[in-house]
């Protein structure tokens, strides 16, 4: 590993010299929180440092664009396992997503239910903390339990513990073939039951979403399988049998149509032009129907077998209050700054955990320089 990386020393200097808050920006497509401060960009760290297809690993500067990494991996028939979403569209923040931003948001798409979140594929980080110290953790190998796992802690920390300068991932072979199964007309409770049945089968469903107003305004429940061609055909047949009680079941095997379906789910595009505040909830899948019942006025989309819920609610509506008592968390993804300030973007942790998180932040960023106040 190099002693310094492109752009890293400059970031460290900026942080050390800072006399007020800094607002850290990768591509700016996932900036959901409210912070002010001088902008600190990571673009100078851009560049893929190492790609070893035979070892299933890629290492890149945090400022590298997500597009560049995905294109490179595709050239070897590989991919980031967790299917990072591009939320710029639905959040109204156009731009070029960076890999550092993906990590800072722990952004994970439909395949999360099978292969884990961004944090599960992330195997190493380098970052500059609020003191201006360069810190590395993990490395470039898949199995590593040497010391504490700060890799996980940094994933999803939205720049509040440090400015990421380099990230390393475990990658996977891209699926050779894929198919999607569609059940139409289900209510939320039945849709979640159907998805649970599919996810609890041995047929390796790696996408399970429900769109209450899909094609032609009809509810659509979607399930995806990927792998080698013969295996996909076999599993598609078995799943169709398994889901027979939930008819009508149809199958989609056209690759372009399948890509489009799952990009929509991944990027939440159906909500891009819908007015209202956008929330993202993570709950136990079987609680999805209860969430729907508590939010009669909301428009909803379900991913992760029902466990990930995107909700459009009237502006200013306090969704957290409405779903009070259902375990999980709700993030306010898109709203006016006023609403964000009054409701809070991130879900408040219970007191003892909030105390731990606050202390961790003050250890990594004692002067409160990095995205202060963003997460709590």
């Amino acid at each position: 590993m190099l002693d310094t990386l492109p752009g890293e020393a400059e970031i460290a200097d900026r942080i050390r010299a800072a006399t007020g808050p800094l607002r850290i920006i990768g591509g700016g497509t996932r900036s959901i929180g409210v912070t002010d401060g001088a902008v600190l960009e990571t673009s100078a760290t851009a560049g893929v440092r190492l790609y070893e297809p035979g070892a299933l690993t890629v290492v890149a500067g945090a400022g590298t664009s997500l597009d560049e990494i995905e294109t490179l991996l595709a050239s070897e028939n590989q991919a980031l396992p967790f299917e990072p979403p591009r939320l710029g569209n639905v959040l109204g923040k156009p731009g070029n997503s960076t890999i550092g931003g993906v990590v800072a948001a722990n952004a994970s798409g439909p395949r999360r239910i099978q292969v884990g979140a961004c944090r599960d594929s992330l195997i190493g980080v380098r970052f500059v903390d609020g003191r201006g110290d360069v810190i590395k953790n993990g490395g470039r190998v898949m199995k590593n339990v040497t010391g504490y796992d700060l890799v996980k802690l940094l994933a999803g920390s939205y720049g509040t513990l440090g400015v990421l300068t380099e990230v390393a991932f475990k990658v996977l072979p891209a699926p050779a073939s894929r198919a999607t199964l569609r059940v139409t007309g289900l209510n939320v409770a039945d849709a979640i039951r159907a998805m649970s049945a599919a996810l609890g089968s041995p047929f390796e469903v790696n996408g399970a979403a429900h769109i209450p107003s899909g094609e032609g305004g009809q509810p659509e429940t979607l399930m995806r399988i990927e792998g080698f061609a013969e295996s996909v055909t076999y599993r598609l047949g078995r799943l169709t049998e398994l889901l027979a009680p939930f008819e009508p079941v149809s199958t989609e095997e056209d690759p372009a149509a399948i890509s489009q379906i799952w990009e929509q789910v991944r990027d939440v595009t159906p909500f891009a032009d819908v007015e209202g505040d956008l929330w993202r909830l993570s709950v136990k899948p079987s609680d999805g129907a209860e969430v729907a019942a508590r939010l009669p006025e909301a428009q909803l989309m379900f991913d992760w077998g029902g466990g990930l819920i995107w909700a459009i609610v009237p502006t200013g509506c306090d969704l957290r209050a409405a779903v009070q008592g259902i375990p999980g968390h709700a993030t306010l993804m898109r709203a006016s700054d006023d609403t964000k300030a009054s409701l809070g973007v991130f879900h408040p942790d219970p007191a003892p955990l909030a105390a731990i998180s606050t202390k961790l932040r003050s250890e990594f960023d004692p002067r409160g320089t990095l995205n202060p106040g963003l997460m709590g």
Partner: protein, 482 residues
């Protein structure tokens, strides 16, 4: 390996401590007679032993909290213990510490097949978690070879892996939530049946923290439906290099088996004699396993065998029955035990980039001659997690020290080629003093600060993971206020 000298002030207050502990636990849950505390003097790194001041066996989260509150007030170090199978000395006590064993916390609290989770108390053994959901054809994926004995608590603390983690990930990828007691007795619940953290990913840093941040009493784990079937194939090669190249080619071809295990000549011979697995006589052996329906398995194995044939195998043996499959795995699964029967050994656990396998195996062979100690290699090849077994004679003066020096050189080599000191066994005391080979002072300091937050008094498993000199000021600092 040095351990800090016991604090005489703590030794002196043993009677009072025992009395206080007995007031919050049943009589048989406080073990303090010298002949009984011996049962807790070491874990599976048996070269180091020291009976604790006492051992306690609480049976509920509340009892764990009561114990920790007392130890916190008295300023007494606590070493959490699951089943004591750590190979890194993670559960090794000091004479002035209390062993907190979670063996009595072994209930299943909830199984939920719709949401594909199980909630268990942390002392439950790994295999019995799968056992609890077997009836419905589900299983818990991380499968350390020690799974019959090791506890979920230890798995979480060490972020343990297993033979099938190439496909299913290690403990941290299958852990959704914990109930944990902080050193001051505060009970916290983190995560649950939902996915990912709403704020900072505290669960992520607790998993793999080797019992230094809190005592885990309950865990929510992801369970999976069993595949329709699985089939291993055994491949023999004339050199380790060729076997290594075959592994890289399989991975590059886009097939991702559930497991790719490697054994070298020494391990092949020893495990075969021990288990009667019927392994071929060759320099390197791979066991590759794939899953699915019969047709799916045929499709994948077809591709894998085609790749293997290009590497001049001396033998390709596909299991044609459950019995043959079991025989293929038999030797590999008993490898540590088989080697242990013929010799004392030290098991290393460094990980390297898979592409460096041939080079690292060659260097280990050369070093083996330099140090004059034999090495057997058995490991998870798909992810580069090596397990060199260095053979030594515990009764021969100086042999253990030579072995440790040799081991340190191998681990430094792993780091040099881009890998790490430990892939799944943890740092414990064993690799504590090598941390500087992988991490800079600032890297280590960042980790110490995390411990400062969770355990400001440095009472939980304090002499592990980090070099003693680096943690001395923190460990000897003023004890937490009563």
């Amino acid at each position: 390996m040095e351990m800090p000298a016991p604090d005489p002030a703590i030794l002196a207050k043993k009677p009072r401590l025992i009395e206080r502990l007995q007031a919050v636990l049943p009589a048989d849950a406080v073990i303090h007679n010298d002949h009984e505390t011996r049962a807790y003097e070491c874990d599976a790194l048996t070269a180091y032993k020291c009976p604790p001041l006492c051992a306690v066996l609480p049976a509920s989260t509340e009892e764990v909290a009561a114990v920790l509150k007392i130890c916190h007030q008295e300023g007494v170090p606590v070493v959490p213990r699951g089943s004591g199978t750590s190979l890194a000395g993670g559960a090794l006590p000091t004479a002035d510490s209390v062993i907190l064993g979670v063996a009595r916390l072994n209930d299943v609290l909830e199984t939920d097949y719709d949401n594909r989770i199980i909630r268990v108390q942390s002392g439950r053994t790994n295999l019995s978690v799968s056992g609890a959901v077997e009836e419905e054809d589900f299983f818990y994926a991380p499968d350390p070879s020690s799974q019959l004995a090791c506890a979920i608590a230890g798995n979480i603390a060490m972020n343990s892996g297993g033979a099938h983690c190439l496909k299913y990930g290690v403990t941290t990828n299958n852990l959704l939530g914990v109930t944990m007691v902080m050193m001051d007795g505060t009970v916290v619940k983190i995560g649950g049946a939902h996915l990912d953290a709403g704020g900072l990913d505290l669960l992520g840093v607790i998993c793999g923290s080797e019992g230094q941040l809190g005592v885990v009493t309950e865990a929510t784990l992801r369970i999976l439906r069993k595949p329709e079937g699985a089939r291993p194939v055994l491949m023999g090669f004339n050199s380790s290099e060729v076997a290594g190249a075959c592994v890289a080619d399989i991975i590059k071809a886009g097939v991702l088996p559930v497991a790719i295990e490697f054994m070298d000549r020494l391990c092949i011979r020893v495990t075969d004699e021990f288990s009667g697995a019927g392994y071929p006589d060759c320099d390197a052996l791979l066991i590759v396993e794939v899953e699915g329906s019969d047709a799916e398995i045929d499709e994948q194995l077809g591709m894998i065998l085609q790749i293997a044939r290009k590497h001049d195998p001396v033998e390709l043996r596909e299991a044609t029955s459950a019995d043959e499959a079991a025989r293929i795995w038999l030797g590999r699964k008993s490898a540590f035990g088989a080697v242990g029967r013929i010799n004392d050994y030290m098991c290393l656990d460094g990980t390297i980039p898979v592409t460096e396998l041939p080079y690292v195996l060659r260097r280990i062979g050369e070093m083996s001659e330099e140090f004059g100690l034999e090495v057997g290699n058995v490991f998870h090849a798909g992810d580069g997690n090596m397990h060199p077994l260095i053979l030594f004679d515990a009764n021969k003066p100086g042999d253990l020290e030579t072995c440790e020096a040799f081991g340190a050189e191998i681990l430094k080599l792993c780091v040099e080629v881009g890998g790490c000191l430990t892939g799944e066994h943890g740092v414990g005391i064993e690799k504590r003093d090598l941390m500087g080979a992988q991490y800079s002072d600032a890297d280590i300091e960042a980790q110490l600060r995390v411990k400062d937050v969770f355990d400001p008094g440095w009472l939980l498993n304090p002499a592990k993971v980090f070099p003693l000199a680096v943690t001395e000021a923190r460990r000897l600092g003023p004890p937490a206020a009563a």
